[in-house]
């Protein structure tokens, strides 16, 4: 029972982990992109579309990643080069992305003459199956080593991003850009290039999260109306909860995932809490995290100082 619950929590947390990691990469370079929901929607469509036509998981993921890059490129161009308001541009990207995915989703449905379904072979590729040997370990085998391949990918991406941010030269440069672009610029860092790269990388990772939703959560069938149902927004919240660290995001996505499925596993006869509270809880907790962080006035583990502000070198 508990294993099933945690298993389901991991499954529900994975798309959030993608979205959160993507948004962390974006925010760490000094840009608050509120277009995660839109980028995930676009990734969901492209991932499904390519998976549907080619039957190849790598190609599907690549397509989702690239469309995420593309969506983020629009955002990057507008905010970095054209210096448009980041909040508004992000929201617009969400409107655009949802429209994009639903529009082409419907064309896909019409062409397929009904809801498009992924091929059975494809479904096997993305199904949950125990990893040989490791999967046979009791409890842990089921809990950790019996997932669909994308779950491992999400953790891998988060770990790589974490190492990248904290341990590499490029990661250091990117943090500097996010905190104080003027200082980074004076140190000879190409601020514009770094912002573009990380916004696009972040968008790509968000796109992967979208692909997870359409391929895995959708059960192999394209559902035009509710592929991405607020997961993008939850990811933005999770960034705060994870205090801008992809490693903490792994844990955070598990917590958020757990709350979203808790209503199906909680012993209802013992605990009488309305379902709505389970799903609300992550947001409440995040809000408190946000408040406490501001009360402590901590410099670390809070939003990069340059977030939300566009940089223009000759500003005076």
């Amino acid at each position: 029972m508990i294993i099933n619950f945690l298993f389901a929590a991991i499954k529900a947390g994975t798309p959030l982990l993608f979205g959160t990691t993507g948004e962390i990469m974006t925010e760490k370079s000094g840009n608050l992109n509120l277009g995660v929901e839109g980028m995930m929607f676009m990734g969901a469509f492209m991932g499904f579309f390519v998976g549907f036509h080619t039957g190849s998981l790598p190609l599907a993921l690549l397509a989702a990643f690239i469309i995420g890059n593309f969506a983020a490129l629009i955002y990057a161009f507008l905010t970095v080069t054209m210096m448009a308001n980041q909040n508004v541009t992000g929201l617009t990207l969400t409107i655009f992305g949802i429209g994009f995915a639903k529009f082409f989703g419907e064309i896909m449905i019409r062409k397929a003459g009904g809801s498009p379904k992924l091929s059975p072979e494809f479904m096997i590729t993305i199904s949950e199956k125990p990893i040989p040997v490791l999967g046979e370990i009791p409890v842990i085998g089921k809990l950790i080593f019996s997932h669909n391949p994308l779950v491992y990918l999400s953790v891998l991406v988060a770990v790589i991003c974490s190492i990248y941010i904290m341990k590499t030269r490029a990661g250091l440069n990117m943090r500097a850009v996010g905190e104080n672009p003027a200082a980074a610029d004076a140190a000879g860092i190409k601020v514009t290039r770094i912002k573009y790269l990380h916004i696009m990388l972040g968008g790509g990772i968000c796109g992967l999260g979208g692909a997870y939703l359409s391929l895995i959560n959708g059960g192999g069938v394209w559902n035009n109306s509710s592929v991405v149902n607020g997961q993008g927004w939850i990811s933005v919240a999770l960034v705060i909860f994870a205090s801008w660290s992809p490693m903490k995001a792994i844990f955070g996505s598990l917590v958020f995932g757990a709350f979203s499925v808790l209503q199906f596993y909680a012993p209802k006869d013992i605990i009488h809490i309305p379902n709505a509270f389970y799903v609300m809880l992550p947001f409440l907790i995040t809000t408190f995290v946000l408040i406490f962080a501001s009360m402590r006035k901590s410099k670390t583990g809070s939003q990069p100082a340059g977030c939300g502000i566009n940089y223009f070198r000759e500003e005076r």
Binding site: M82, N87, V279, G308
Partner: protein, 362 residues
């Protein structure tokens, strides 16, 4: 030293220079140019999906206004968007990034619904006034919370208001599944439909929300332009230090303004439940709060422009839904077109502040 290689290095082809500011007239011309460019870009998109842009555009415009039914539909879409965009305006004017309109709309809806469900024995007029006030209080409180923490601890308002959207959304879920569930409904839990007594009256065939919206346009315009409080909002938005210097109580102003901002959004929620849906559902805000932000920003926070832009957006939305039946194209195209228009206007805004300088060929 690598100066050897650098000595031949050319200047970049384009660089950006800050402009001395330009006049209002030029700004409007630029906005219109942006709109034109967006329409052309949208046209190219339509062409790319194998349709005739002229036909599609005509259908959208006609579709939105072709009959009194369609017109009413367009206006119905416009009402919450207009009110919420007006609600965003004072907060944004103050550079308080309130992206919590969605949640404030919802709280307005919840507070109003409470009275609609449990006080519908009151006389119609009184009940509606109470619901109106309740909606304002609900939305206002939801705006006040982040303002309090912002002034007290400096808590980031963008993220805070974003969180409150979801907390509000799940509150609806709570009421629907719990205390306010309609016992008569079988299957899917929902809240009972309001009785006739608790519904907003119609004026010219559309619920009175449009009148409220228009009144708010005028009131807000006057409030922001001519009143002392409006002046305070502008100064705080300009510089908190200047406001303190002028002897203003900045914290009070931020809290008051956010209450007003939330309260107006709350009105949008109230009109939605009592005028359009006659019940409280999870879709009461349905993303309007987010679209409203883009509308307000696009209109440069001017209530009169907001009215125009709202009508444009509503027309797009309504017109695109018509397209579905005429051309078999998904109504979601409205999201794409809205996005394109917004992208272009956001991009063109650059030219009001900066200009490009091209490298002179030597």
């Amino acid at each position: 030293m690598s100066s050897q290689s650098l000595s031949t290095k050319k200047e970049p082809f384009i660089r950006i220079i800050k402009k001395t500011e330009i006049s209002v007239g030029k700004t409007i011309v630029l906005s219109l140019l942006a709109l034109l460019a967006a329409i052309i870009a949208g046209g190219i998109f339509i062409l790319a999906i194998g349709q005739n842009p002229f036909e599609i555009y005509t259908t959208i415009v006609k579709g939105a206004w072709r009959s009194s039914m369609a017109t009413k539909g367009t206006i119905k879409i416009a009402i919450p968007l207009l009110i919420a965009a007006l609600g965003i305006t004072p907060a944004f004017q103050m550079k308080f990034w309130n992206i919590g309109a969605e949640g404030q709309i919802i709280m307005g809806g919840i507070f109003a619904t409470y009275f609609a469900l449990f006080f519908d024995h009151l006389p119609h007029g009184l009940l509606l006034v109470i619901m109106f006030v309740a909606g304002m209080v609900g939305g206002g409180l939801w705006g006040l919370i982040p303002a309090y923490f912002k002034t007290r601890f400096g808590t980031n308002e963008t993220l805070f208001t974003l969180m409150l959207n979801y907390i509000a959304l799940y509150m609806i879920k709570f009421f629907i599944e719990g205390p306010w569930r309609d016992p008569a409904s079988s299957g899917f839990p929902k809240i009972a439909t309001f009785t006739k007594n608790a519904r907003l009256d119609q004026i010219f065939g559309v619920h009175a929300g449009w009148l409220i919206g228009l009144v708010l346009v005028v009131v807000l315009f006057i409030y922001l332009t001519f009143t002392k409080q409006g002046y305070e909002i502008s100064v705080v938005g300009e510089s908190v230090n200047t406001a303190r210097y002028a002897g203003m109580n900045v914290k009070k102003i931020i809290m008051r303004t956010m209450f007003i901002s939330g309260a107006i959004c709350g009105i949008a929620g109230m009109t939605q439940v009592t005028g359009a849906a006659y019940t409280l559902g999870e879709g009461v805000a349905g993303g309007v709060g987010f679209t409203a932000i883009t509308v307000a920003w696009l209109s440069k926070l001017n209530p009169l422009f907001i009215l125009v832009v709202t009508l444009l957006f509503s027309m797009l939305e309504k017109g695109c839904s018509v397209m579905q039946s005429t051309f078999g194209l998904s109504s979601a195209v409205s999201g794409i077109l809205q996005g394109i228009i917004l992208f272009f206007i956001l991009g063109f805004d650059f030219f009001t502040r900066y200009r490009f300088v091209f490298r002179k060929e030597r």
